[in-house]
Every structure is written in C-alpha cells, then in structure tokens.
C-alpha cells in the first residue's frame, strides 16, 4: 500500500484557487467550509509564495491524538479519516491541528459547531465506498475508483502533487534539480517529520 501525501511546489503555485474550487465542487462542500485553501505569504514582498493547504494526513496525527471520542482512523493508504457519526463537534482537533484543516459547518456558540469536516484525500469515509450515504457525509471517494485527489489532478501548473509520498517526492526532487531552486515541501516537516532531500 502507498503512503499518500500532498506536496505543494510553491515555485509553481499561481494562486489561481482552482484546487479550492475543484474540491468544493467535487464534494459539494457547504458554504463556509474550506477543505482546501490557498495562503500567500510575504504578499507583495520579495519571497512571496502561495501555498495550497489542506489536511496533510499527518503521521501520528494530532487530531486523532486529542479526539475525546476517538472518531479518527488511518486507512491502509495512510489517509487520516474520521467518522462523522461519532464526532461530537467539540473543536479539539482544530486546536491541535497545525494546518487549520478541521472545519465546522456552523459558528458554534454553545457547542453547536456541528460535525467536523475536513479533506478526505478524496477517500470518503467509513460508509460503504461510493454510496449516497458516503457522498452526503464526506463527498466523493475517488481513491476507491482508482483516481487521485481532484485538487491535484486539476492543478494547471502541477504545483500541487498528491499521491504516494515516494513518487511525488521524486517528481519534486527532479524539478528542483532541473531548475536549480525550490522552497521545499511545505508542511512536510510538521506533518511527516521529514523533508524532501534534494
């Protein structure tokens, strides 16, 4: 089985937000929830980079570690998923997550945030694959169809890579060697406790 990861090549990201739109459309994500977002650092200054960020499907995921009802699980592909039928919407995963990935459908006073929603790496949830029940709760399950996450598939500059960690790291490594520069794999140190050695 593969170890699925995201890798964002900030030299290529043009902040077009197509990944955000693709994700929202593919999974019919409700208004106010962003499973993926594009953050621009050093905006208008030297060293400006745009980084598309979602759940990184961490090794030893902090969300799973702090969840009071243990609703998280890791698939054989190392994708971190959660069971919305068990989630109580306490918000702890959001306090622990380094990437701000967990999202809540409502404003959330008096504990009324609703069930947490986050990127599933287009791998659905605990319901049977590609059923209506799974789609309503988690969105489409592209992995079960043998496809990779749509955000990366749609990326026009191929800045966002999704797939087996070894393969996407080698693609990125080759790019950096060819062009002679790169800002590194964003979030990898935090999520996977490793970086892509060039």
């Amino acid at each position: 089985m593969a170890r699925m990861k995201f890798l964002l090549d900030a030299e290529r990201c043009i902040e077009c937000n197509a990944c955000v739109t693709a994700c929202k459309n593919e999974h019919e994500v409700p208004w106010g929830i962003n499973r993926r977002r594009v953050v621009t650092i050093n905006d208008g200054k030297p060293g400006e980079r745009s980084i598309s960020m979602a759940c990184m499907h961490c090794t030893d995921a902090p969300c799973a570690a702090v969840c009071p009802v243990s609703c998280f699980y890791t698939t054989a592909d190392a994708v971190v998923l959660h069971d919305k039928d068990l989630c109580i919407g306490c918000g702890y995963c959001f306090y622990a997550c380094p990437f701000g990935a967990p999202q809540y459908p409502r404003l959330g006073n008096f504990g009324s945030r609703g069930k947490m929603d986050k990127c599933t790496f287009c791998a659905g949830g605990p319901q049977a694959d590609n059923t209506q029940a799974e789609y309503i709760q988690y969105g489409s399950n592209r992995l079960a169809e043998g496809k990779l996450p749509l955000c990366a598939e749609m990326c026009s500059t191929k800045a966002l890579l999704a797939g087996d960690g070894e393969i996407i790291a080698s693609i990125y490594r080759e790019r950096v060697q060819r062009r002679g520069y790169g800002t590194g794999a964003w979030g990898w140190r935090t999520a996977y406790r490793e970086t892509v050695a060039i």
Binding site: P62, P68, S70, A96, P98, G100, G180, G187, T190
Partner: protein, 329 residues
C-alpha cells in the same frame, strides 16, 4: 570529429558541474523547512494572506497545537488522574484510620438552624451543576480510555454529546449560584486569626485537639474560597470556550482550555474531600445541608463559637416534640 568530441565533453563537464557542486555542498535548508523550524522554536505562526472571509484560515501553520496536544494528552491526564485518584486514596486511608467522626456525647435531640432554605437551595443548585459539569468534563479527558471500551463507540458518542450540551448550558446556573453563594456567605468567610489556630491544630482531623470555630471553620472557608475564586476563573475561561473565537484567537482558546481544565480537576479533587466530610465522613454533618437543622452537640463540637452565639440569641433553638429534657446540654 576530434574537436566535436572535445566540445561535447566540455559541454557535458560544464553541464554536470553545477548539479555536482549543488550535491556536494552542504544543503541549505529550504524556505519551507526553515520557516517551519523557526515557527516551532519561536512558537509563532506562519501567517499569510487569504482571499476567503475566514481570517483564521490565513494561518498556514500553527505549531502551538503541539504543546496543546502534549498538555491535553499527557499533562492533564496525569494531573487529573493523580488529583482525583490521589484524593480518593487519601480519603480511603483517612476513613480506615480514623473511621467516621462521631458526635461527642451523641445526639442531644435539640437542633439549631444552620442553613435556611435559600442557602440550602443555592448550595444544591451549585452542587448538582458541579457534579454534572465535573463528570462531563472528566469524560472528555478520560472517557475514551475508561467508558468507551465498556459502552462502545455509538453509545459513548451519545453520552459525550449530551454531556457537552449539559456542560455548556449548566455553566449558567452554576455561575449564578456562585454569585449568590458569594453574597450570602462572604461575611462569615473572612479569614481571621482563629483560622490559623484551626489549621495549626490540623482542623481536629489530625490529632485529637478540638480547635474553636465560628460559623465556618478554616477548612470550610478554604472550600468557600476555592469554590468562589476557582469557580470564577473556571467560569470565565469556560465562557471563552463556549463562544469559540468570539473573544480570542487560537492561543487564547488553547490557554483558556489549559486554565479551565487544570483548575477544574483540582477543584474536583477538593470537592471530593468536601463531599466526603459533609456526608459519610462525619456524623451529623449532612443535616446542615439536608434539613438545615443541626444537632446542638454537633454544633458545639465543630462550631462552638457559632453555637454559643446562636444560643445567646435564644430564638433559633427549636424544641422538637420528642426532645429529651434539658440537662442533656
């Protein structure tokens, strides 16, 4: 031909030279790696600009989540576990070594009004809220280790969900009760020199001395101030949590949770001692909050100065129908 080969070789050498140097030179850390390490060491965010309305989403990476996780999973679990189990162990040892504290000379059959209906009603409102708040709070830290394996995931989620709602809404009567408690009891809970003597004598619990006390002794005053001051801090930090990100940002939410949970487990430990001594630990103590009428001998034993005052007033001592003739006191 020879020249062409030489030229090709030269081109190859030049072409190969740049990556060869890059590979042999010590690799400079990438921008991503460097920023992540700096943010982690300094405890700052990697912050940017975002084109969606949710400002929180402009934080690319927040490393403090790591500390909060360590607090929630390790520090809180240990502090809470030691506080609660430690207090239960102390109370068990105390019970086994000293037994139930009896009323000296037995019950006289004559009683004094210790707490009126407002005081008792308010006490039980705060107490019942506290028990549910405490259990639902402990459930968030310990439930998945203790309750989840017993009842299963679905039932545990249902319990935790109801616990969460109860926790959020009972915060209001709890806080109201604390304010009333402060108003009606603060005058009898100002610390004074007698309390120091009371603590020096171990409150009569350790050793056999019997220190004098007014309406509230040193230990009760301590319980009062733990409840009022601790409760105030727990309430304020709790309101910050119940309105997430309304008053504060990520650090504020994490800090509120840390203060709220640490103080809460310590208060739970303190209240276990309070519950013990007010119920099964001491003969005659529960009457104060049960019927409100305490036995005169109990009052003299534990609150001698208060009993004297009340007797001097001479109006609150009630003679129940089956009372013994005077002389019992």
């Amino acid at each position: 031909m020879k020249l062409r080969i030489l030229g090709l070789l030269a081109a190859l050498l030049i072409g190969a030279a740049a990556p060869a140097i890059a590979q042999t030179a010590p690799r400079a850390p990438s921008m991503a790696e460097e920023m992540e390490v700096q943010a982690l060491l300094r405890g700052t965010h990697i912050q940017g600009r975002i084109s969606i309305p949710d400002e929180k989403a402009a934080t690319l990476i927040q490393p403090e989540g790591r500390e909060w996780r360590a607090f929630h999973n390790v520090t809180l679990a240990w502090v809470g576990g030691i506080a609660v189990l430690g207090m239960l162990a102390i109370l068990t040892v105390f019970r086994l070594s000293k037994g139930r504290i009896p009323i000296e000379g037995g019950r006289s059959g004559r009683t004094l009004l210790r707490f009126n209906v407002l005081e008792r009603g308010n006490h039980w409102m705060v107490a019942s809220c506290f028990i549910i708040l405490g259990l639902s709070g402990l459930n968030l830290t310990f439930g998945r280790h203790i309750l989840l394996p017993i009842v299963g995931p679905e039932a545990f989620t249902a319990i935790s969900q109801w616990g969460k709602y109860a926790h959020n809404f009972l915060a209001f009567p709890f806080t109201l009760g604390l304010v009333v408690m402060l108003l009606i009891w603060v005058k009898d809970n100002i610390p004074n020199a007698r309390d120091i003597a009371w603590f020096k004598a171990g409150g009569g619990l350790i050793g056999n001395e019997h220190p004098q006390a007014g309406r509230f002794n040193g230990g009760q005053k301590m319980v009062f101030w733990i409840t009022v001051l601790g409760g105030a801090v727990v309430a304020v930090s709790g309101y910050l949590l119940v309105f997430p990100f309304f008053f504060t940002g990520m650090e504020g939410m994490q800090l509120s949770h840390i203060i709220h949970s640490l103080l809460s487990v310590l208060m739970i430990a303190a209240m276990l001692a309070h519950i013990y001594i007010g119920s099964v630990g001491m003969d005659g103590a529960f009457d104060a909050m049960g019927t409100g009428q305490v036995d005169l001998n109990w009052a003299k034993q534990h609150h001698g100065l208060w009993a004297q005052e009340e007797l001097a007033k001479g109006r609150t001592a009630v003679q129940p129908p089956g009372a013994k003739a005077s002389g019992a006191d």
